[in-house]
């Protein structure tokens, strides 16, 4: 484990990615306490303040402190993104591994269905699910998870196909093991490494997808301090104070880049030979 960490931190993308992700997770955990102001407290006299003085990143159209809102918003935004990715990955991984194990016509049927679902862009898919189930945070989470599932299933299947041909799977089949045991205990642990890498990269997509959903008014609802929602609200006040728009956008970008870099670093660290 320490060896793995050292390899991860040896590459620049691994090091920077880990730093950013740790920072973001730290903010998500402690942001609410760290916030210098109440994120929802309005101040009529302190609207559209530029960064500086009492308000480190300035204030928004209601005089709320942007720094406090970003810090306390980290929890919902990042947790939602992580949860949605985890759920989507898990579902996709089981479907992909199962499909590879069953093979033949089953594989064909499952994969063509997945292809059909994949043909719908993930944002459109998420929009569809949310508009069917109603706009709320939980539904947005489900929507993103479902949107991620087909892609993960495809990637997992590709890896699982090579694992399927390994002798330890043949040995399990010859032993008369059940399909569920073979998929979950023999195959899944051996496809986990590429899945973890893919998952980390997808977290950044999830952050952006959530931001987009909130921006369109289908995710978090005002006055929640969600990053995407903040960008959405700030749009109208762009000419009064660009900072309201810039800060949450920057944070979304940094988080996305951080997870992306971490994913690249993990990929190198998990395959020491490449």
């Amino acid at each position: 484990m320490t060896d793995f960490l050292r390899r991860l931190l040896a590459t620049p993308q691994g090091l920077i990615g880990s730093l950013v992700v740790v920072l973001v997770l730290f903010a998500a955990l402690t942001g609410a306490w760290l916030a210098p102001h109440d994120p929802d407290a309005m101040a009529a006299l302190a609207r559209y303040k530029a960064p500086g003085g009492d308000y480190l990143l300035g204030t928004d159209q209601y005089g709320r402190d942007i720094l406090s809102r970003i810090l306390s918003g980290a929890r919902s935004t990042v947790t939602m993104a992580l949860l949605a990715t985890l759920l989507g990955t898990l579902l996709g991984a089981v479907v992909g591994t199962g499909s590879a194990y069953l093979g033949g016509r089953w594989d064909e049927a499952i994969m063509r269905t997945v292809d059909a679902v994949m043909a719908i862009p993930s944002l459109l898919m998420a929009l569809l699910v949310v508009s069917l189930l109603g706009a709320s945070g939980a539904n947005a989470l489900l929507a993103v998870a479902i949107a991620f599932m087909p892609g993960m299933a495809r990637i997992t299947r590709a890896v699982a196909l090579t694992v399927r041909k390994q002798d330890y799977v043949s040995a399990a089949v010859a032993r008369g093991e059940g399909s569920l045991y073979i998929v979950l205990r023999e195959m899944l642990p051996n496809v986990i490494a590429p899945i973890v890498v893919e998952m980390t990269i997808r977290v950044s997509f999830a952050v952006m997808l959530f931001a987009t959903l909130s921006f369109l008014g289908l995710g978090a609802q005002p006055p929640a301090a969600d990053w995407g929602l903040m960008v959405s609200e700030a749009r109208q006040y762009l000419h009064r104070s660009p900072w309201i728009l810039i800060w949450p956008s920057v944070v979304i970008a940094i988080t996305a880049i951080g997870f992306n870099l971490l994913g690249d670093g993990l990929r190198d660290a998990l395959n020491p030979r490449t």
Binding site: Q166, D167, Y168, S170, R175, P189
Partner: protein, 546 residues
């Protein structure tokens, strides 16, 4: 010429290590080697002895974490270690060339054979592309390929493994190099093909007088090929000398152990035949295996579909407690039959196990699964790398039920002792074990269910010769203890003659014949059996080479 007096290759006090983390892993220790013009030096050693690192060091193709000492490597008068990368690129292929183990990966699959051969000639001899193509055809004719002009236009996947290796050899000899390094050139080939390749190599060597370094783990092969042999153990040359003297009177204990571990057909390891009148345990009746399935499109368009044949109507019997050897080249359907019998392949026909008919997967109940166990070739692949030994060995007990009244963990520890592994291995992962130890785990897994038939599919071919000997010894011991019947699939005919009661010979999916082991060398055998036997290097040559 003055070069003729000087050795073609001389390695002086050369050591090599690899930097792993903060440690240095020593691979070669103070190596001294010389090869003169027209000489073949055999370099023998088990895996991990540093054979291939030696080849890389001479080719100056080392990993970036390699650390070398001040030792010298000279090719003729050229100091190889002092060459710039550019000069080395000129040297490789023109003055030193190399033949790799697996021709399938040594050739680029997307380039025509002719292009790959002509490239060497254009690069090093400055020929135009038309000239090089013409010269390439001559070279291919020279290595005994029929219709070389056609061969030049083929892609690697369109020719056989033996033909590929001939092309690789033609490429190596193309620029008349001073030194050729052969890194296990026949290991990936069939017995008969590798015999032909060796004959070709001997002919070319005599004709061109090139100096060769022949790296191999196969002692019998090296004894046939090289006039001088160096034995490498853990990076050190422990013994070097004339082939005949070295094999007749080995001085170093390691050399003696290596030679002693080579299977000899005259040294039988198995007790007398099982009761001849006993009813067969397994009757295989007309079992055929076809690969591929008719696609929906094929049936819609009413296209004909020709499946790939794995086995064609194989019929044979196995008696209780018998060891049946199955031999044949790769692609002969040996493993296909094993997979059909363990329910890994669909098959047509009938397998009767202990009087119960099995016609397909659905007939293979828990009892059949318990009674018929399989051990695979590569222990790396057959043990799940993410599971501990305890979980791997617990599965058969869980599935088939172990002995009552004994905790599962205790049963596993007992089994580990039976396969001569310390009980402390129970919490390890497979990658913490050596190849031979892993194979013992796989054997333990098979025997935990108290099987009546164990199918061993090339289980020793990935192992070193000394490890192979100990694994075979273990198998024979378990055979005596349990009385299980074995199907032992192998391409090593010397080995199978040591341990089998009867031998089945397979060729391209057909069962040629099943004969008693004593009668395998009889003159009235099928022509293919005779051909196969003739191609085998008898281990007797270890002591008898003149």
């Amino acid at each position: 010429m003055p070069q003729d007096q000087k050795p073609v290759l001389s390695v002086r006090d050369y050591s090599l290590g690899y930097k792993v983390g903060s440690d240095t892993l020593s691979v070669l220790k103070t190596i001294n080697l010389t090869i003169n013009r027209g000489e073949i030096l055999g370099l023998v050693g088990e895996s991990g002895s540093g054979k291939s690192s030696m080849a890389s060091a001479i080719m100056r193709y080392l990993a970036p974490n390699a650390i070398e000492n001040a030792g010298a490597i000279h090719l003729g008068a050229t100091d190889l270690r002092a060459q710039t990368p550019r000069q080395l690129a000129d040297l490789r292929g023109s003055r030193v060339s190399m033949v790799f183990q697996d021709p399938a990966t040594a050739l680029n699959p997307t380039l025509k054979l002719g292009e790959q051969l002509a490239e060497v000639l254009m690069r090093h001899q400055g020929l135009t592309s038309a000239q090089a193509w013409k010269a390439g055809e001559e070279r291919l004719a020279h290595v005994g390929l029929k219709s070389p002009a056609e061969m030049m236009h083929r892609l690697p996947h369109e020719v056989s493994g033996g033909e590929k290796q001939r092309v690789v050899i033609a490429t190596a000899f193309a620029c008349n190099p001073e030194l050729i390094i052969f890194d296990e050139p026949t290991t990936a080939l069939d017995v008969i093909t590798s015999r032909q390749i060796l004959d070709l190599f001997a002919g070319l060597q005599a004709e061109t007088g090139v100096a060769s370094l022949y790296i191999s783990h196969d002692l019998a092969l090296v004894a046939r090929t090289a006039r001088r042999v160096a034995v490498l153990q853990k990076g050190e040359i422990v013994e070097e000398g004339d082939t005949v003297t070295l094999f007749r009177a080995p001085q170093h204990p390691y050399t003696r152990a290596l030679i002693g571990a080579v299977p000899r057909p005259d040294r039988r390891l198995v007790k007398a035949d099982p009761a001849p009148e006993a009813a067969p345990l397994v009757k295989v009746r007309g079992v055929s295996v076809n690969y591929g399935r008719k696609s929906l499109l094929d049936s819609l368009l009413r296209r004909d579909f020709t499946p790939v044949v794995g086995n064609r109507a194989v019929t044979l019997d196995i008696k209780p407690g018998e060891i049946l050897g199955i031999v044949g080249e790769s692609g002969s359907g040996k493993s296909t039959l094993a997979k059909a019998m363990t329910g890994l392949n669909r098959f047509d026909g009938l397998i009767e196990f202990d009087g119960k008919p099995v016609r397909g997967l659905s007939d293979m109940g828990r009892d059949y699964r318990r009674d018929v166990q399989i051990v695979f070739q590569h222990p790396d692949a057959s043990l799940n790398p993410r599971q501990r030994i305890s979980e791997i060995l617990a599965r058969p007990i869980r599935l088939y039920g172990g002995r009552d009244g004994l905790p599962r963990r205790r049963q596993i520890e007992e089994m580990l002792e039976r396969v001569r592994l310390p009980a402390t291995y129970i919490d390890r992962f497979p990658h913490q074990l050596s190849g031979g130890e892993k194979q013992r785990i796989a054997i333990a897994r098979a025997f935990l269910s108290n099987p009546r038939l164990v199918i061993c599919d090339e289980i020793t071919s990935a192992l070193d010769v000394s490890v192979q000997a100990s694994v075979i010894e273990l198998l024979m011991e378990l055979h005596q203890q349990t009385g299980a019947a074995y199907i032992f699939i192998t391409h090593d005919i010397n080995l199978i003659r040591q341990i089998a009661h009867r031998i089945a010979v397979m060729y391209r999916g057909d069962l040629i014949e099943v004969v008693a082991t004593e009668a395998i060398a009889a003159p009235d055998r099928a022509p293919y059996t005779r051909e196969l036997l003739a191609a085998v290097t008898p281990p007797a040559s270890l002591t008898l080479t003149a």
